[in-house]
Each structure stands twice: as C-alpha cells, then as structure tokens.
C-alpha cells in the first residue's frame, strides 16, 4: 500500500483559514463593554503607578504636624492630609506602586508554579498524582487568609515575606484547578487518539493538553487577582506587609484608623482605591471567562 497520496499534487492554491480560538476570544472580549471599561481602569491604575513621580503633586513621605488631617478640598491638598500631615493624593498615587505589586505579582508567579504542579499531577496520574495532590491538599486545608497571616506572621513583616506568603497561598488553589482540568482533558478521545498514534508525553502535553487547559487555569488565576489585592492590602493593614513610612493603601488604612473620629472621609479613602482595583480586576476576569467560554 504505497501511499500514492503524497505524490499527487493535492496542495491547494489557497487554504481558507478560520480565525483561531484566541482571535475569537479577543473579538468577544472587545465587544464586552463592561470588561473593556474594567480593562481601561486597570490600565489607568498601572499607568498611575508607573508615572507616580510625575503625577504626584507632593512628596508622599514628607509631612508636617502643622497640617495634620486636613479635610478634602484644602488648597494645595485636594484630598486632604493624613495623620502625619502628608498629602493624601500623593500618597494614594504612590501607594498604587506597592499595592499593585503586592496584589498582582503573587498571582502570575503562582500561575506558573501551580499550573506546572497541577498539569504534571493530572497528566501523570496514579501514584505521582496522589503524592503531589495530597501535599497540595495540606496547604489547601488552610483558609487562605489564615495561611497568609500565618506565614507572614512567622516570617515577619516586609514586602518580600508578604509576596512569598501570598504566592504560597495561591499555588495550591491554582494547582487543584490545573490538576482537575488536566485530568478531564487527559480522558478525552483526542488525547487517546494522540497516544494511539505513538506520541510521547511531551508532545501530547505540548500540543493537546496545554492548549486546552491553559484557558480555564488562566481565567481562574485572573479571578484570584482581586482576592490577592484584598489579601495583600489586608496583610499591610494588619502590619504584616510593607512597613511605614512607605505608601501602601492597606497600610494607610491601618495608620488612619485612629483618625476616624476626626476626619472619617480621609480615613476611608485608601479603601476606596483597593475597592476600585478589586472590582476592576473582578469585572475583567468575568468578561474573560465569558469570552473564553470557560464553564464554572
């Protein structure tokens, strides 16, 4: 049965190409008005963080006890001043830097590590799966706030420790999702067919598994950014994140707590920033989930 096929000149002049999955996702996403607004808000926040030195009207760390807790609309201090007389607007703008870094960075790191762990466990199955997943289960057995607090509580405050703690919190969550989708995909007929054609594990994972599991893991991970923002600011709020006098929204919320009787509006401002960021990430993640057509 010599394959006469290859000798035929069957190559068509033009092959019609359908738009691929990711093109479709982008198209659907760009039609989702709410997701696009959320994306713009996120972009503006990031821009604000990058351009903080140019945008902030004042030095965020220099204050004067003479002008403590000035109300909104004070000349020269549009958003008032904090308990040490530092300009609130400048601190909120500068605060975006540490707040975003603390809130966002753990998620991509955990995405890479968690996906790797979960996909390996899901693809290998059997004993390897059991060993990996039971270990993951141990960390998953801690409520996320508790684990983050426990780790940074013992490691001590500071940016790096907070980042490590948050990453450790999210790895098992992402690994579990990755494992479960990988196990599902692994059972599908097209993976069986690929195995049946003699493909090795690496080729199957690269061609057939990754393309089909990354989307749901990615969507899940983006939904964690909002959680991470709240948690990161929460750590700083507890005094476990960045240390004063650095500007960070959670920490600002903490230090301004004493001011709620004197100038409540000012005291609530940093939380508004956390809230906005968290909503924007959540809305974008929801839009992404719809655009990617990921179930649950």
């Amino acid at each position: 049965m010599a394959l006469t096929l290859t000798r035929e000149k069957a190559q068509p002049a033009i092959v019609l190409r359908s738009p691929g999955y990711w093109q479709g996702v982008l198209a659907r996403l760009s039609r989702d008005r709410i997701a696009m607004i959320a994306l713009i808000v996120v972009a503006l926040l990031i821009l604000m963080a990058i351009l903080a030195p140019y945008l902030a009207p004042d030095d965020p760390t220099r204050g004067s006890l003479a002008r403590r807790l000035k109300p909104l609309g004070t000349p020269g201090h549009v958003l008032g001043t904090d308990e040490l007389g530092r300009d609130m607007l400048s601190r909120l703008i500068w605060g975006a830097r540490l707040s975003l870094v603390m809130g966002v960075v753990p998620v991509p790191v955990a995405f890479v590590l968690g996906s790797a762990i979960g996909i390996i466990a899901g693809y290998a199955g059997g004993l390897t799966n059991s060993i990996i997943m039971r270990t993951v289960d141990v960390f998953y057995a801690f409520p996320s706030v508790l684990l983050a607090v426990a780790l940074s509580g013992t490691l001590g405050s500071g940016l790096t420790n907070a980042l490590v703690s948050l990453t450790v919190v999210f790895i098992p969550q992402i690994a579990r999702v990755a494992e479960s989708v990988t196990t599902q995909v692994h059972r599908l007929d097209y993976v069986e067919a690929a195995r049946a054609s003699g493909a090795g594990s690496l080729a199957i994972v690269r061609v057939h598994i990754l393309g089909n599991v990354l989307a749901p893991i990615f969507v899940f991970s983006t939904s964690l950014i909002s959680v991470s923002m709240i948690l990161a600011a929460g750590l700083s709020f507890l005094g476990l994140g960045v240390r004063p006098p650095d500007a960070e929204w959670g920490l600002m919320l903490n230090t301004l707590r004493t001011a709620i009787y004197i100038n409540p509006t000012i005291a609530a401002l940093p939380g508004v920033m956390i809230f906005i960021t968290s909503i924007a990430f959540n809305l974008f993640s929801d839009g992404l989930r719809n655009a990617m057509d990921v179930k649950t």
Partner: protein, 339 residues
C-alpha cells in the same frame, strides 16, 4: 512502511485470554468490587478481513478496542500482531504506527484548538515527517475522504458537521498508513444518509490501501453488510464468533438469535408480537454465575447457572458458547455424546 511478515495465512491480530477488570469507585472498605469489563476473550483477525464486534452496552466492546490499542493495560492476556508478541518482539511505537482507531464521538476525538490539517498532520510529525510533507499528506488525505482541503484544512472541528468530522477522523487514522483500523461505533452517531456515505468511503479506503478493520457496532444490519466475520459479546465474554453469513443464518447462541430477532424490520407487515428477550442487559459488576446469559435465556436449565460454557466449534470457523450445543453438558437439548 512495515512489511507483511507471516504471509496471508498468518492472522494479522491474535488476541489470547484478554482480561480487564476495573475497580468500582467508592466500593466497600472490605470487599473491592470490580467491573468485569472484559473477562477472558480470544479471537483472531485475518489479513484483509473486517471483523465485526457486536453486543449491547456493558458487553465490553469498547474496552476490547482500547485494550487492543494499548490505551489500557490488560490484567492478563497477550496480543500478537502479525505473529509478533506485542511488548516483546514488537515495540509499542512500531505497533502504533500499524494500528489506528476511529472513535464514536467525532467531536471529542478532535482537539478543538487545532485546525483540521494540524490534527491530521500531528501523527506524521511525531514520526519524523517534515512539517511541509505532513501538511501535504493531510491535504491529500482530506481530498481522499471527500473534503476539499482548500475549504476544510484551515477550519476548526466545531465548524464541521458530524459526518465531515468523522471523515476527518478517518483521514487522521490513515495518516500513519496503518494496516489495522479499529472503528469503535464510528458511524453510530451519524444520520442514516450520512452513515451510508461514510460506510462506502470505508469500503473504498479498505480496497485502496489493503486495510484490515475491526468494526465495533450495535447495529446488526450495518455489521452484516460490512463484515466478513462477527464476534458477538455478552458481559465481557464472546458468546459466538464466526462467518457473518453463518451467524446471521444459523445463530448458534440463543443470545445472538435474540439480538438478531430484536432488529425492527422495515416492513409494517412483519410486526413482532413478542419481544425476543425480556429484561435489560445486566450489570457487569457481579455477573451471573455459570453462563452469564442464563437469567434472560429461553433455553436456560439448572445446569446453565452452574457451569460456564466454553466456545465450541459448530463447524468451520463458527464457534458458540452454549451448553445446549455441547454434548455431555447435562443440558436437555445437548446433542448426544459423539461416538
């Protein structure tokens, strides 16, 4: 390109004592229950023939296919391909180039993120064919299964109809130039008019490439049309095996007889009055003792629940596992012991 090793008389595939049990999820702490999906089957597939495998849900047809494909590891039993023992004389990767499979669900068996040509070209690429040559082969195969590569090569599975997708799956299975193709309910999900087109295509391809088929189906009419020989399975065992005409004309097992009689005739004048068989196919967990068919069998006698009938030759290649055919079995219909 692998050569014909043992000559035309050597069976292409020989399956001996194949067994596969699955543990039941969530079964008791003390007693592990198992699904006896495949419980000791032997059969041969001759070169160039089409072997039909028929039976109801839970009879082990699909498990058998996956065992042959080595997608599952058997608990015991051996598979010889062209006389070579799989795993010993014949390496798995070499075997897989020669045996391919088409699944029932045309959608689930194509990667939704790959274009049609990528799906077909995947296997040749794995086996070292250059990207360009693999794509060319994919286009040629698409052409051969009746899909214009210009229109279909760059599309994704969800943009095709069920019949078109199944043609793609056939092209994909042929991309490695296999000798044996296992068709696991490959046309069952298709509409009748589409099914007819795909069946003709399968016949054409078989002639053209000298293929051997194992055709798994629950549709006895299709099996009769397509297959040279048939194996009837019931609860993980072969009830009967033999030439298609022999089985359809003179079924040797009461189950085969009932199964054949259950096919509705497309003639209002030939309506049935009594169902040939009562009850549902039983669960392959804890199958009945003795002959597994005895609780539903019209010929069942006490002996049938006690001893398990072996496959017994009825003449030529035709074998059936029924105590009523076995002299000295103790069944009242059994022929008297041969002199």
């Amino acid at each position: 390109m692998s050569l014909d090793l043992g000559g035309p008389a050597q069976p292409l595939l020989t399956v001996q004592g194949l067994v596969k049990h699955f543990p039941v999820k969530g079964s008791g702490l003390m007693r592990r229950r198992v699904v006896r999906a495949v419980d000791g089957i032997d059969f041969k597939v001759k070169k160039g023939e089409t072997l039909g495998v028929v039976g109801e849900s839970g009879c082990g047809k699909s498990t058998t296919a996956r065992l042959i494909m080595k997608l599952l590891d058997p608990d015991s039993g051996t598979v010889l391909f062209d006389g070579q023992k799989l795993g010993h004389e014949l390496e798995l990767s070499a075997y897989r180039r020669q045996v391919q499979m088409v699944f029932q669900d045309s959608y689930a068996s194509l990667n939704p993120r790959l274009t049609i040509e990528e799906s077909i070209a995947f296997a040749p690429r794995i086996h070292g064919v250059t990207a360009r040559a693999a794509t060319e082969r994919a286009h040629a195969l698409l052409n051969r299964v009746g899909l214009d590569p210009g229109r279909f090569a760059g599309r994704y599975p969800h943009e095709l109809s069920g019949g078109q997708r199944q043609r793609v799956n056939i092209a994909r299975a042929l991309a490695l130039e296999p000798r044996l193709v296992i068709l696991d309910e490959a046309v069952s999900a298709l509409d009748k008019s589409v099914e007819a087109q795909v069946l003709n295509l399968l016949l054409d391809l078989k002639d053209e490439f000298g293929l051997t088929y194992i055709f798994i189906s629950h549709d006895l009419n299709v099996v009769r049309f397509l297959c040279d020989r048939v194996m009837v399975m019931y609860l993980g065992k072969a009830a009967e095996i033999g030439d298609t005409e022999a089985i359809y004309e003179r079924p040797g097992h009461p189950y085969s007889k009932a199964l054949l009689a259950s096919m509705p005739k497309a003639n209002p004048a030939e309506r049935m009055d009594e169902p040939p068989l009562a009850g549902d196919p039983p669960n392959p967990i804890d199958p009945p003792s003795g002959c597994r068919f005895h609780p539903r069998c019209a010929l069942a006698e006490p002996v049938c629940s006690q001893s398990e009938p072996p496959l017994l030759q009825l003449g030529g290649d035709h074998e059936a596992a029924c105590l009523a055919n076995m002299s000295g079995s103790g069944h009242s219909l059994a022929p008297s012991r041969a002199p």
